[in-house]
């Protein structure tokens, strides 16, 4: 019996490998499993190589996992192009197209897999459906058969999918699926490869991704304006919103560029509305100047930055976590803006709502650092319980405060009531230039110091928000791990495995990345002698940022890889073991 299954498939554009993955995850959701589906493509827009990975379990899946349980190879060339993204290990079952004419003992892999099967997929498709296009359904049949996966639900899904295409096509595809099942039944795998049945009595689950959840969370949070510019892998946020925002009385601007996009957002916020933009690295860089304006004018806004491989155009379709420096520091002058990061697809909802709340409460731009993986992978998630979230509205001046209204009054909290056009008595001059309490331009050093104090210190209460940190493991452990974003799920799995193996270790996952919550880290560090920060960037950016603000344990190291280089639970586990050994022997 398997509890955790990772399937990787690759082929060329026409092979329909991704579509097979989608059919499979739909069926798994029906049956009450949890799963994560990630897709990866070559650089062509259409055609070219494509692949997907699907990880399934009966409990929530923490990350897309490392080494494959099953590798499905429609042709070797394409499969190998994905390199480390589809790693085969000694325990993997490799299923490949017989037509590739490679002998099972001569497959082009560095390791010897557990089982290697050449299957005449194309032949089965031609025979059953009369078209090579049905190959992917043969594959589904093989997977359902060999691993006992959602046999009936896959069939139902196919029926829905092909319903509109006419009986002939539908039946062809059904036959292809059956052919795969049949082949699997007739050629059983050695050993027990059947998958655990799902938990009983599960409710309706959703298949969704981070970009989609971000859009629905924004609408839930009361977002009334979106301004932005298309960019991979953030575009879908805009695409979802442009369908629905009007229904909520809002509006959306596909602007001429990223600068105009965020400038319009600043305008909408000035006009009194909750407003957001979404972008990826290059767009974030372009938005720096206007982000600074929003900080100085103390206008709330949310900027979602879906990280992809950088720098510059970089690797637009790959995930990375290397925009943290830019998010924290990319505007001239002294500014601090809160940065939040979701740790999973599901988490994107709450983080987006939180971003709006913080923006409105503290009158500040907030950056959400999503990443390509969270944004675009498909997860099976439980429906979001919206009653869990409270919404925050900005502080408006009272009637009394609108007599001689003082926009930037130096209050104790640093937060001053904010009016907007339309409110009689609330008129003021917003500006990028330094101002006095009334908002009038002012170049006095003393006022500048006071306003800097106001703008920076008002964010201090955020550092006490322990709910924006996940803490797990042995509180007295001498070995610790910190991780963030989509990679946090990898670290979480590694820590759980380590603890299951009897190691004493704890884990801290910050969802608030900036300002750095010194006390939270200090508390975490108290018992530690060794700590590792796991993240997907070359420089290990969170590792550096923590050092800036907190005194760290004597050994404070980094496990960091550039984007598109998988970090697996095993990688982390090895480092935890090493740290534990070093601590024990010291």
């Amino acid at each position: 019996m398997l509890n955790d299954l990772i399937i990787g498939m690759a082929g060329s554009g026409g092979d329909g490998i991704v579509s097979a993955g989608e059919s499979l995850i739909s069926a798994l959701a029906q049956d009450g499993y949890y799963a994560i589906l990630t897709k990866s493509f070559g650089s062509q827009i259409r055609g070219g190589e494509s692949s997907c990975r699907l990880r399934v379990a009966s409990t929530p899946v923490l990350n897309p996992g490392g080494t494959l349980t099953v590798a499905v190879v429609l042709n070797w060339e394409d499969f190998l192009r994905f390199g480390g993204e589809l790693p085969v290990g000694p325990g993997t079952v490799v299923i490949y197209e017989q037509k590739t004419k490679v002998a099972p003992d001569a497959i082009p892999l560095a390791v010897k897999p557990a089982i290697v099967r050449a299957v005449p997929m194309a032949e089965l498709a031609m025979k059953s459906a009369g078209t090579l296009q049905a190959k992917n359904n043969v594959v589904l049949g093989l997977l359902a058969g060999w691993f006992g996966l959602a046999r009936q639900s896959i069939l139902e899904g196919l029926r829905k999918k092909f319903a509109k295409k006419g009986a002939e096509i539908l039946q062809g595809n059904e036959r292809a699926y059956a052919a795969g099942l049949d082949y699997a039944d007739k050629n059983p795998l050695e050993g027990d490869w059947h998958f655990n049945p799902p938990q009983a009595g599960v409710g309706k689950r959703l298949i969704t991704d981070g970009n989609e959840l971000c859009a629905s969370a924004a609408l839930f949070a009361g977002c009334k304006f979106f301004g932005g510019y298309p960019i991979t892998p953030a575009t879908e946020i805009m695409q979802h919103l442009q369908r629905d925002i009007w229904k909520h009385g809002g509006s959306l601007l596909q602007a001429e560029d990223e600068i105009a996009g965020i400038a319009a957002v600043v305008g909408a916020s000035f006009a009194g509305r909750k407003a957001m933009t979404a972008t990826s690295g290059p767009g974030l860089s372009l938005k720096s100047e206007v982000m600074g304006l929003a900080s100085l004018a103390e206008l709330p806004l949310v900027c979602v930055n879906v990280q992809r491989g950088g720098p510059s155009t970089g690797l637009p379709t790959k995930s990375e976590q290397a925009d943290l420096f830019a998010a924290a520091f990319s505007a001239h002058g002294d500014t601090v803006r809160p940065i939040l990061a979701p740790i999973s697809v599901e988490d994107m909802f709450g983080i987006t709502v939180e971003a709006f709340n913080i923006a409105e409460q503290y009158q500040t731009p907030v950056i959400v650092l999503s990443d390509q993986e969270i944004a675009q992978r498909k997860d099976i998630v439980d429906p979001v319980d919206r009653s869990r979230f409270k919404l925050v509205e900005r502080l408006e001046p009272t009637a009394a405060e609108m007599v001689d209204y003082t926009r930037f009054r130096l209050t104790e909290s640093g937060i001053s009531p904010l009016s907007h056009p339309g409110m009689k008595g609330g008129s003021y001059l917003a500006a990028g230039i330094e101002h006095n309490e009334h908002g009038d331009p002012c170049s006095s050093g003393e006022m500048h110091e006071q306003m800097n104090n106001k703008r920076l210190n008002k964010l201090n209460p955020l550092k006490q928000r322990r709910d924006l940190f996940l803490l797990e493991g042995d509180p007295t452990a001498e070995v610790g791990v910190i991780s963030w974003g989509s990679i946090a799920g990898v670290a979480l799995e590694a820590v759980r495995t380590a603890r299951a193996q009897g190691l004493s270790v704890k884990l801290l996952i910050p969802k608030l990345l900036y300002p750095v919550a010194e006390e939270v880290y200090q508390d975490f560090f108290k018992s530690l002698r060794r700590c590792l920060v796991v993240e997907q960037s070359h420089q290990g950016q969170l590792h550096r940022i923590i050092r800036m603000w907190v005194n760290t344990p004597a050994e404070f190291t980094s496990l960091a890889k550039s984007g598109a280089n998988p970090i697996t639970p095993d990688d982390v586990l090895r480092r935890i073991s090493a740290m534990t050994r070093a601590t024990a022997s010291a």
Binding site: L253, A255, A260, A263, G267, H420, P421, G426, A431, G432
Partner: protein, 295 residues
């Protein structure tokens, strides 16, 4: 008539509006323009136009970029936003889209609008939000002390062109006409009445309206380009019998930008197409019930 309903929940201004005066629009902030700067005339003309329009100042959002001219919102009692250099139009569009009930004015310099901000102009115009955009065109960068602006004439020697400019200037009038602006006019502070009237008309035009003001910079500008000389050079389009509904003729006249000092309305679309803001309202209205129906 411009409607003055706002959705902000504050006291409706439809009830017995007291007649407004220029005082209602002049703020306490003392302008820090150089004595003799053309921009004084622009803000005065604007006060007058706003009196004629009659919207209370808190229903007005007045957006600018950065430059001497861009200081203008601070000298009014409107909600002002002195944004960053070149981004006044996108900020203004966000405001208007977020709250179409507001009267949204935009202003700035020739550099702000046609150099760093030049990429935003065609898009603001083709979207056709109901905005009024006033450019104070002094053919120079005033605030940064006298460098080439995009409208500085070829050959001009400035603090950034010791040997003379080697480029043709941009032609704001011709550009905005090509972009499809529905209202295009040019004024001079030397003709205060004409300018005030023109700004008023621009505000009343339902859609994107552009007013180019030849607003001299007394400190760094060409001495031949000052208020006194404007009076002798200006040619009123109305007096010349120009029909502002004739787009092609407007294009021809616009080509003389920099040569002739035409003032008045170059073009006013006789059949204003629906504005972007009205389309937004429409779309919101059409789609909103669907959600309700769905539960």
């Amino acid at each position: 008539m411009i409607t003055s309903t706002t959705d902000c929940g504050c006291e409706s201004t439809l009830v017995a509006p007291a007649p407004l005066t220029t005082k209602d629009f002049r703020s306490d902030l003392k302008p820090i323009w150089c004595p003799g700067c053309g921009d004084y005339g622009v803000v005065t003309a604007l006060y007058r136009a706003l009196v004629a329009i009659g919207r209370p100042s808190h229903e007005i959002a007045f957006i600018s970029g950065i430059g001497c001219s861009s200081r203008i919102p601070g000298y009014t009692t409107a909600y002002g936003f002195n944004t960053v250099h070149g981004r006044a139009l996108p900020v203004a569009q966000g405001i208007k889209m977020a709250n179409p009930d507001l009267l949204v004015l935009v202003a700035g310099g020739d550099g702000d609008g046609f150099s760093i901000g030049g990429g935003h102009v065609p898009h603001a115009i083709r979207r056709n939000l109901d905005l009024t955009y006033i450019v104070m065109d002094n053919h120079i960068y005033g605030l940064t002390k006298g460098q080439l602006s995009p409208t500085t004439p070829r050959g001009a020697k400035t603090s950034s062109s010791t040997y003379g400019s080697m480029e043709d200037p941009v032609n704001p009038l011709l550009y905005v006409l090509s972009y499809g602006a529905g209202f295009v006019a040019q004024g001079v502070p030397a003709d205060m009445d004409g300018l005030a009237k023109m700004i008023e008309e621009a505000i009343r035009y339902p859609g994107f309206a552009f007013v180019n003001v030849q607003s001299p910079c007394i400190t760094f500008g060409d001495p031949d380009d000052q208020l006194k000389i404007q009076k002798t050079k200006m040619r009123k389009l109305a007096a010349e019998g120009h029909d502002p509904s004739n787009w092609l003729r407007a294009m021809e006249l616009a080509q003389d930008y920099g040569k002739e000092l035409y003032t008045g309305v170059f073009y006013r679309n006789p059949n204003p197409p629906p504005t972007y803001d009205s389309q937004i309202r429409e779309r919101q209205a059409t789609l909103r019930p669907k959600v309700a129906a769905a539960g």
